[in-house]
Amino acid sequence: MLKLFSSVAMHSQSVLVGIRNFSTSGGPLLFRSSVPMFAEPLKKKKRLDPQILKAREDRKRKKIEKSIRKLEKVSKTLKPIDEVQLMATLSNERDIRQRPTVVHSNDKLEENLVVAKAWSMYKHDEHFFNLQVINDLEYSQQRALNELREVSEDLYLAAVDIDESLLTCQLTGPVETPPIENYQSPDGEYIDISKKWD
């Protein structure tokens, strides 16, 4: 026992050497007083009224909730499509607007069948013709490229290079009647009435 304590004492003494404090005894009790603190006592925390605190928190929460609700509202409303929404009057007038049902004669039905069949044959031929044309185009171009590669690798590489000027391509298709030359369009201002949705 003593041996143990003495060892502790020895150890602590060696620690104590550099520290400025006082000890009533160098004994195994090692009584030490704490370092005095020269500081002002802490201010007493001002206690707020719990009701005011609660009100403040509520306000904060309400603000956040409100903004969330706003966001939800916006996400739910889709862009209105005027063309899709039917007017209520239209569905009420359905009976008045109905056309009398037409009953076709057998001859007429037969004729319709013939027309539909002729059309499907026509489209079939057209489709296969188009496939042939695409095939020809591909073949022709691939042959040209192969021949070009044999002639010169540099020219081939220049040929397969992407032409970026082709992008943002705008085409104006064929129309029913050609444009009238020197046509003076009637007076008037162009007003864009298309609605804008944010």
């Binding site: 057209e126 044309v133 992407i162 032409d163 129309v175 444009p179 009238i180």
Partner: protein, 259 residues
């Protein structure tokens, strides 16, 4: 025999070919093709179905009301001031008549032009519903041939640049076109006549065709050709010589099923 084979191998290695770029300049159709009989029939058929399945429009209802009111007024029954007022207003039939008159007064441009009437093959305003291809008459040896504008490739330029140069050389600067990419769309090679082959030691020419679309402008007189023409594909068939046409036709997508 081996010697013969070797000399053939050797000679093919030394054979030189001229590299050329050809220009397939097209004027795209401006108006739609007129409908065929099958198309017209089917169009009528669809319109019939659509009409039968549709509901009456506001205009039709109004017209029916007008008719009923007129009958009432004629028969002398129930003369209402409201009815009188409305009857004096414009009726649905009047509205239709007025619009029809306006339509009749408007003159649409004709689908067939003057160039079609006199068959002006140099005009860009002919055959508005068809694809027109520029061909020129060039002298090869002693004979004139109709070909797509073509020219020799110069060292240092890409083939696309050659094609653009040929456009300037054979059509002038007053023409605006857009090329369909850097890659050639077709190929044709032919051998020069024997006399020329021995003279210049060049076997023949390899032509790489480039497609371009006419935007605006027209061809100017140039000395690289003696004559030019804007022709449709069936006309090309008659003008161009056969093995050449066969290769050109491959990359002309707008020929008809029948041609």
């Amino acid at each position: 025999m081996l010697k013969n084979f070797y000399s053939r191998m050797h000679s093919t290695k030394q054979v030189k070919w001229d590299i050329m770029a050809g220009l397939c300049l097209q004027r795209k159709p401006i108006i739609t093709k007129s409908l065929t009989e099958t198309e017209v029939n089917f169009q009528n058929f669809l319109q019939e179905i659509e009409f039968e399945k549709s509901l009456k429009s506001d205009h039709e209802l109004r017209h029916e009301k007008d008719v009923k009111r007129m009958e009432k007024l004629k028969s002398g029954k129930v003369i209402d001031f409201d009815d009188m007022d409305q009857a004096s207003n414009q009726s649905a039939q009047d509205y239709v008549d007025k619009n029809k008159e306006e339509l009749l007064n408007f003159k649409f441009a004709s689908r067939s032009t003057k160039a079609d009437e006199i068959n002006d093959i140099k005009s860009l305003k002919r055959k508005l519903d068809d694809n027109l291809v520029l061909i020129v008459k060039q002298k090869f040896g002693h004979d004139d041939f109709w070909v797509l504008p073509q020219g020799l490739w110069n060292d240092g330029e890409t083939l696309r640049e050659t094609a653009e140069r040929i456009l300037r050389e054979s059509c002038g600067n007053k023409i605006n076109v857009s090329f369909y990419g850097n890659a050639p769309c077709g190929f044709y090679k032919y051998k020069y006549p024997k006399q020329k082959r021995e003279q210049s030691n060049v076997e023949g020419a390899k032509i790489f065709f480039f497609k371009a679309k006419l935007l605006d402008g027209n061809v100017e007189q140039k000395d690289t050709w003696t004559d030019y023409e804007w022709s449709t594909v069936p006309e090309l068939n008659k003008k161009l010589i056969q093995p050449y046409m066969k290769n050109v036709k491959l990359f002309l997508s707008n020929y008809n099923v029948n041609t």
